[in-house]
């Protein structure tokens, strides 16, 4: 009985959950891996903590580069996956000349001097992210050309 009363009260408190969907833009460019929040302000305010995830509940150890053009110069699956999933975070780090994402990429590419790597990328931002439509393959290949 107590469980029922408590649960009923909880239903009132928990209400709705926000529906967050991965923005399915193809091409692995900027903004394509950002998780969008489709909930309205009202929904958000009574968001639940059920942590329901819509759909993909598999053992996704790969974030996947499916749908992305393959790199021509860099033969590093893990680096490709990382860049594909972190285009925006990496762009910020490259522009600033430091950051966890650029350090992670350095580690994946077995770069010893992370600081020099980041500095080099920063001064070559335009050669790496050549336009607003830059894609993972180009970005990673450009990084290899510029800094490795």
């Amino acid at each position: 009985m107590k469980k029922i009363i408590v649960s009923v009260v909880a239903v009132l408190a928990l209400g709705t959950v926000a529906s967050a969907t991965i923005n399915n833009q193809t091409g692995c460019g900027l903004g394509s891996q950002i998780i969008k929040d489709d909930s309205s302000a009202v929904m958000l305010s009574i968001q639940a903590t059920l942590n329901g995830t819509s759909g993909n509940q598999t053992f996704g150890i790969t974030s996947g580069t499916s749908g992305c053009t393959k790199t021509k110069l860099v033969m590093n699956e893990r680096a490709a996956e990382f860049v594909a999933s972190n285009m925006d975070q990496l762009a910020k780090d490259v522009a600033v000349g430091r950051g966890e994402s650029v350090n992670t990429l350095a580690e994946l590419l077995a770069v010893e001097d992370k600081a020099a790597f980041a500095a080099s990328l920063q001064s070559n931002y335009n050669a790496i992210y050549t336009s607003k439509n830059a894609k993972m393959a180009d970005v990673l290949d450009n990084i290899a050309t510029v800094a490795l």
Binding site: K3, V6, S7, V9, A10, L12, A13, L14, G15, T16, V17, S19, A20, Q25, L30, G31, Q33, I34, I35, K36, D37, D38, A41, L44, S45, I46, Q47, A48, T49, L50, G52, T53, S54, G55, Q57, T58, F59, G60, I61, T62, S63, F82, N86, D88, A91, K92, A95, G97, R98, E100, N103, T104, E107, A119, Q122, Y125, N126, Y129, K132, A134
Partner: protein, 595 residues
């Protein structure tokens, strides 16, 4: 033919040995099967090799021995590949020397990629506009040989709910009563982080565990066994946090974590449990995007922050904005803030994808020409493991002019605006079922108040963020124009502003008492909260109400908090409630004990 006979023979030998050792009654076997009481909590038939497996650990043990020694498949569908943790344990306990040859390609590929070395417990804290999210969430992170934690893998347990097709009450009800299947899942940490620090603006607290490499590997093998196997998800007890505890016990069976919990498992309480067992070695804070943006706002100041907003909205050009900033460091901060704000607005659907890409790229291009500069310093909030526990018992004395009351109260969940919010999100309130009894010589024992539910989110507005504040209360109280216990529903909305010292708020209020038709109305609530260090806090609130019958009522409260320790506090309060019969004033001394 001979091989099959030989297999039959060895199966019988090992099953007999297992019987002699009472292996099916051992703790570790029960952990591997998730047996609670007499049956397994796993509901998916594919987790069991025997038809009775869910209800009979002994039968399941015999079936496992048989299946491991007489394989019918030799690829990833082999028993050895599907149940590597069971195999490892049985091999050791029964000293089994030879198993049939199998090729566990997927398993090995996973082990190679995840490269388990150590484990970290992760707690995303509350979301600013969602009091319910105060309960938080927990998941595990398996760390590898890489320095970068972004390359670690997160192990998560959640309900597979389709929030796109099911909203609101259906979702909540199903979640509470086991209407959804719960699954463990694994994904790269860099992807998991996006869910919380970016979209949900939740700070992340990481607690590194002292589990050894062998222990973490054991845990991972077991997670593999659970992959894609469901259990019914129950929000209160068999929830995300509870299911993380199983994994830690599998890693280190000496540790008993689940039995510390009775009915409900609150995520933050699992952090306390880990610390009590001495499992936590180091703690780490990851600020959410919201915290970063607030830090930029603070360092840029009002004028430049407004310029950043205009820039991000595309109202002003980059050159125009940067020209007004003298120092290069200000320009750097402004561009960084703008890029963060662009992402945030894109996540919130305030700008289109093309606007986002255009401005994001242009902003970063400009930023890359300004060199490295200084890193933004973000203040680390108090760790949630310093916050008070959820259950409350309270002893109060209420002094009136003509008499006084002694009160005793109990509340299972969780936190109010008047309590110490050290380690919790400011301005957030959630209370369930608070019962306050009172005794006086004249009245003997009576109910002072019984609150069913109270929620509040007093969220401060700033230049980058414009949340609205709100409050909802449902319960019996004596705040009416007569000192009669009545049921009240009250809903409020408005705005709040503040800084590190405190905050103030103005709310419009709609309320109704279950009494007469006229006992409903509108009101205005004005309040302020000031923090005096970590130990003291002052709350003041003034309410002016207009009833449907034209009468008005003033309510005024001051509450001074003195935090004695994490779980003990004293409050000195002054209450002034206008009644038909005149002003009803009281001074209360409150002692709160959390556990």
């Amino acid at each position: 033919m001979l091989a099959a006979l030989h297999a039959e023979n060895s199966i019988k030998i090992y099953q007999e040995k297992a019987r002699e050792l009472h292996l099916s009654q051992e703790r570790y076997w029960h952990l591997l099967l998730h047996v609670n009481g007499s049956e397994s909590e796993i509901d998916d038939a594919r987790f069991f090799l025997s038809e009775k497996g869910k209800y009979d650990p002994d039968d399941e043990l015999n079936a496992t021995i048989a299946a491991l020694l007489h394989e019918e498949r030799f690829d990833d569908n082999a028993t050895a590949c599907r149940f590597p943790a069971r195999k490892a344990w049985l091999k050791e306990r029964l000293a089994i020397e030879t198993f049939p040859q199998t090729q566990c390609t997927e398993l090995n590929s996973m082990l190679q990629k995840v490269d388990p070395k150590s484990a970290t417990f992760v707690f995303p804290s509350a979301h600013i506009n969602s009091p319910a999210s105060m309960f938080g969430h927990t998941f595990l992170r398996i760390d590898s040989s890489y320095d970068s934690k972004l390359l670690s893998h997160a192990i998560n347990y959640a309900a597979a709910a389709n929030s796109a097709t099911e909203g609101g009450v259906t979702f909540a009800v199903k979640g509470l009563f086991g209407g959804y299947k719960g699954f463990y899942s694994m994904l790269p940490y860099y992807d998991k982080l996006k869910e919380y620090s970016d979209t949900e603006q939740r700070d992340i607290w990481e607690y590194e565990l002292n589990l050894s490499e062998a222990e973490v590997r054991r845990m991972l093998l077991h997670v593999w066994e659970l992959g894609n196997r469901y259990q019914w998800y129950y929000f209160f007890d068999e929830n995300c946090s509870y299911n993380m505890l199983w994994l830690i016990e599998i890693a280190r069976p000496d540790v008993h974590l689940r039995e510390k919990f009775f009915y409900h498992v609150m995520p933050l309480n699992t952090v306390f449990a880990l610390e009590e067992e001495g499992l936590v070695v180091r703690k780490h804070y990851r600020p959410s995007k919201r915290q970063k943006l607030l830090a930029y706002e603070a360092v840029l100041g009002e004028e430049h922050s407004k310029a950043v907003v205009a820039l991000t909205q595309g109202e002003v050009s980059l050159d125009a904005v940067l020209k007004k900033m003298e120092s290069i460091q200000t320009k750097r901060y402004a561009l960084e803030a703008s890029s963060e704000l662009l992402e945030y607005w894109f996540i919130e659907n305030k700008i289109s994808a093309s606007e986002y890409k255009e401005r994001f790229h242009a902003t970063l291009q400009q930023r890359s020409t300004l060199g490295r500069g200084a890193s933004l310093a973000i203040d680390e909030p108090r760790n949630p493991d310093r916050s008070h526990r959820a259950n409350l018992v309270t002893f109060q004395v209420d002094f009136r002019s003509d008499r006084h009351y002694y009160l005793l109260g109990f509340r299972p969940v969780y936190h109010t605006l008047l309590d110490s919010d050290l380690g919790l999100l400011r301005g957030t309130q959630i209370e369930f079922l608070k019962l306050l009894l009172r005794y006086s010589r004249e009245e003997k024992v009576n109910i002072d108040a019984f609150k069913l539910l109270s929620l509040a989110s007093i969220a401060q507005r700033s230049i980058f963020f414009k949340p609205f504040s709100w409050r909802a209360d449902f319960g019996w109280n004596r705040n009416y124009q007569m000192e009669k216990l009545l049921f009240e529903t009250s809903l409020s909305a408005g705005g709040s502003w503040g800084n590190t010292w405190g905050y103030w708020y103005v709310l419009g209020n709609l309320f109704a008492y279950v009494h007469r038709a006229e006992s409903m109305g509108v009101g205005v609530i004005v309040g302020a909260t000031a923090y005096e260090g970590e130990r003291f806090k002052t709350n003041i609130e003034y309410t002016e109400r207009l009833f449907a019958d034209g009468t008005t009522q003033r309510l005024f409260t001051v509450s001074q908090l003195w935090r004695l320790s994490t779980n003990q506090a004293v409050k000195l309060q002054y209450h002034d409630i206008e009644r038909f019969s005149g002003e009803s004033r009281s001074i209360k001394v409150v002692f709160d004990y959390f556990f």
